[in-house]
């Protein structure tokens, strides 16, 4: 079969048909994957919450604006037998080496850190990605950390947190994210506890 002539009409028709077919296909795929994508995100959020809280059987979500930053922090209150056992705060920082770092911080009712797990980051593989639990045990030092007794900053800045070799910026940023969560938690602790029925 001979090739179609490159007349104006043919060219416009071809491009319109190709573009329409492509948009139609993509819209279909988008609608098909929309729900699985939501589910995957929700599963990741749930997994992060259960990593930083003691065992719970019910969750309640609140949100508070932090003193530093405009984006609200999501507070996930974990209940066990209708009793508040801890709060998982989804926090963030824009002080990272490249882009925003997000993390989930679990607090007990007094504001001590239960554990921290990263949600997303774009730090350098091999250096900054040591904040990930699977990559190194660096973030384990936050388990049991009490920000009211110790200073939530890396040692270089006069704090009590060990830095990451060759990735000071990332470690500093991670502390900033956790500190944002803690400050906001302490500022709203009364409200949170009242919500928790105490």
């Amino acid at each position: 079969m001979a090739k179609k002539e490159s007349t104006f009409l043919n060219m416009v028709l071809t491009l319109v048909i190709v573009a329409a077919a492509a948009s139609f296909t993509l819209a279909t795929v988008y609608n098909l994957t929309k729900e699985p994508i939501e589910r995957a995100r929700e599963a990741a959020r749930q997994a992060a919450i259960s990593m930083v809280l003691p065992e719970f059987d019910e969750l309640q979500t609140l949100s508070f604006i932090p003193a530093t930053g405009s984006e609200p922090l999501e507070f996930n209150l974990g209940f066990k037998n209708n009793e508040l056992v801890g709060v998982a705060v989804a926090t963030y920082t824009s002080m990272g080496y490249s882009g925003v770092i997000r993390a989930m911080v679990g607090f007990d009712l007094d504001g001590r850190i239960i554990d921290v797990v990263h949600l997303s980051h774009t730090e350098t593989p091999g250096l900054g990605d040591k904040i990930e639990k699977g990559k190194s045990d660096w973030s384990d030092q936050f388990a049991g950390f009490d920000p009211s007794a110790s200073v939530l900053r890396v040692r270089n800045d006069g704090g009590d947190v060990d830095g990451i070799t060759a990735a000071t910026i990332t470690a500093r940023a991670y502390c900033d994210a956790i500190d944002r969560a803690w400050q906001t938690f302490m500022a709203n602790r009364e409200t949170v506890l009242k919500e928790g029925g105490e």
Partner: protein, 192 residues
């Protein structure tokens, strides 16, 4: 101040070629001579800035309001491709001298992933750029591209005169040199 930080970050710290691995094809392809690498850098700067402005507006005023951000890739690549064509036609008419200098590089730019990469990065929500910041970001990245490719071309002109082991001649030696440059650029890591 904000703008200076964006530029320094893009040129030295997160260098588009040596740290983000974008635009490697032209980086290796047109870096044999300093003069051609300068021409390529000029063309990249021109198209990158224009493309970022257009795609930024499309993203924020068409894709987001209509909730069709999944068409981002497809619309961006079409914008870049048609923009390059348009620039080529306009340059030919308006400034034959500039066309002479940049002309042969323009078609190569469509498949330069640095352009598409920067336009996508410029609307990433965690940067939260407004239009002017996005433009500065594009210019910074173009400058970073220019700096590395011209530096690299200068080294390669000398490399051609060296007695390189047979198996390493050409691309392998160039890649190792790029690696050493990348190592040098890591020294800028704590700049911002």
């Amino acid at each position: 101040m904000e703008y200076i930080v964006i530029i320094i970050g893009a040129v030295f710290v997160n260098n588009i070629v040596l740290a983000q691995f974008l635009g490697i094809c032209p980086y290796l392809g047109v870096s044999a001579k300093v003069s051609t690498s300068v021409g390529m850098s000029g063309a990249v700067m021109f198209v990158m800035t224009l493309a970022t402005i257009v795609t930024f507006l499309i993203y924020n005023y068409i894709l987001i309001p209509f909730d069709i951000t999944y068409l981002q890739t497809i619309s961006y690549i079409l914008v870049v491709a048609s923009l390059v064509q348009m620039v080529e036609i306009i340059l030919k008419k308006v400034s034959p001298a500039l066309y002479q200098a940049l002309g042969i590089f323009l078609p190569l730019i469509v498949t330069n992933c640095a352009i598409l990469g920067v336009t996508i990065l410029a609307v990433r929500e965690d940067y939260g750029f407004h239009l002017l910041e996005a433009v500065v970001f594009a210019i910074g990245n173009a400058l970073g591209f220019a700096l590395t490719i011209v530096l690299f071309a200068g080294i390669r002109e000398h490399l051609d005169l060296m007695d390189v082991p047979k198996g390493m001649r050409g691309a392998p030696a160039a890649l190792v040199v790029a690696g050493i440059l990348a190592l040098a650029f890591m020294g800028f890591a704590n700049l911002v």
